[in-house]
């Protein structure tokens, strides 16, 4: 599609996040809130307080990431003996059981994705704050991927929910979810919110300021 060289903001317009409808920026305040004439959503020129909100959520996620990995996510109790599993030991067990493809899947979803997501968002925030001119298109793609893959980290939580539903034979074997599961779920959800509150248009605003 052929594009102009103007952004909506430069033309005095802002785009509705829900339905793409363009509205005029109100004269009074530059970040004034307008109700979208088409879908009645609040329209903002940029996501409100994007940088500080994303930082706050990101820092909360970093802090919770520690108990999420140190505390057990579940304990398997068989014949009265309990064995606690953390996220990482769960992956190790799958490798020992010879389930390499599944182990890789869990490793990717529960360890690689959350770490990369936290680091990517940190990088994007810093790049916007330092008004970086470096590869805006690649940074936008990075953001798009970050937003898409986040939900896949929930695999471990759902797995626990299925295990506790199935394995409840009192004397023989039961499974108890651990506090690590709550922290881990919180990390995933908070980073999802962090990704949502980051506004990729800020990357491009810096490019235009220079131009």
């Amino acid at each position: 599609m052929r594009g102009s060289s103007l952004t909506a903001a430069r033309s005095g317009l802002m785009s509705c996040h829900a339905c793409h409808q363009l509205s005029r920026i109100p004269r009074m305040s530059i970040d004034g809130v307008v109700i979208c004439p088409r879908c009645e959503a609040h329209v903002h020129l940029r996501k409100p307080n994007s940088i500080s909100r994303t930082w706050a959520l990101l820092i909360a996620a970093y802090i919770l990431y520690i108990p999420a990995n140190l505390l057990p996510v579940m304990t398997v109790i068989s014949f009265g003996k309990g064995e606690a599993d953390t996220i990482l030991s769960g992956v190790k067990e799958l490798i020992h059981a010879g389930m390499l493809p599944i182990a890789l899947l869990v490793f990717f979803a529960s360890i690689t994705v959350p770490v990369l997501k936290l680091l990517t968002l940190t990088f994007l925030l810093l790049s916007v704050q330092y008004k970086s001119q470096w590869r805006p298109r690649e940074r936008t793609v990075l953001y798009r991927i970050t937003e898409l893959v986040g939900r896949w980290s929930m695999i471990d939580i759902f797995m626990i929910s299925i295990l506790i539903a199935l394995v409840k034979l009192q004397a023989v074997a039961t499974i108890e979810p651990g506090a690590g599961a709550i922290s881990f779920a919180a990390v995933v959800i908070i980073t999802m919110f962090a990704a949502m509150s980051f506004d990729p248009r800020l990357i491009w605003d810096n490019i235009e300021e220079k131009a």
Binding site: L94, A186, W204
Partner: protein, 203 residues
């Protein structure tokens, strides 16, 4: 206030684009950052409605039949799709219970019902009450309905239990897999721009 629809701003970099009318099956991408701008879909309303009805039936099946049966030392344990949620609640971990309930049952349901609530009346040229609000909610459900992720959780759990016990998938599990496919198909048939445009015409 209202601007002509031919002009659209990229959601990810704010660049303005003049939209020429697209042919069916064509999609427009942002010329600067590559984000998807707009795609025209043939018979979007009809296909989406049919797939959403299918999804609703599959949803009912997935939530009423046994999900999986677990057999260990001759003892049989049957579970439903929602059993895990109640197990979390029983252990006082209501945060996780709510999370699993929302991601695997509530949001998928809201999404199906919301689609039907907005699209069926619009197809008959009637604008339902709070249509805009409901349709915005439908689009939000996208992120939080995680049935596909849940299915991977099922696969990992099955692999973990494979040499411990005998697992038999139930009707609900098959319906659940079909539901994921039907809902994904409904999603790709849905053309939000057409929904907003029709909503705007009937006012």
């Amino acid at each position: 206030m209202t601007m002509p629809h031919l002009v659209i701003a990229c959601h990810e970099c704010d660049l303005l684009h003049r939209l020429h009318s697209l042919r069916y099956g064509e999609r427009a991408k942002c010329s600067r950052c590559g984000a998807a701008l707009y795609a025209r879909k043939r018979d979007s309303f009809l296909h989406t409605i049919l797939l959403a009805v299918t999804s609703l039936i599959l949803f009912a099946l997935a939530n009423s039949f046994p999900f999986m049966t677990f057999e260990l030392h001759g003892r049989v344990q049957q579970s439903l799709l929602s059993t895990g949620v109640w197990e979390f609640f029983e252990r006082g971990m209501w945060e996780l219970g709510l999370l699993v309930l929302a991601a695997s049952i509530v949001f998928p349901f809201l999404k199906i019902i919301g689609m039907l609530y907005v699209l069926v009346p619009l197809e008959f040229h009637y604008r339902p009450w709070k249509a805009a609000l409901v349709f915005r909610m439908v689009e939000q459900c996208q992120t939080w309905a995680m049935m596909d992720v849940y299915l991977l959780g099922v696969i990992v759990a099955v692999v973990k239990l494979a040499d411990l016990a005998i697992l038999v998938p139930g009707v609900a599990l098959y319906s659940f897999v079909a539901l994921i496919i039907a809902l994904a198909a409904a999603d790709s048939a849905l053309d939000p721009h057409e929904v907003w445009e029709r909503m705007e015409k009937i006012r």
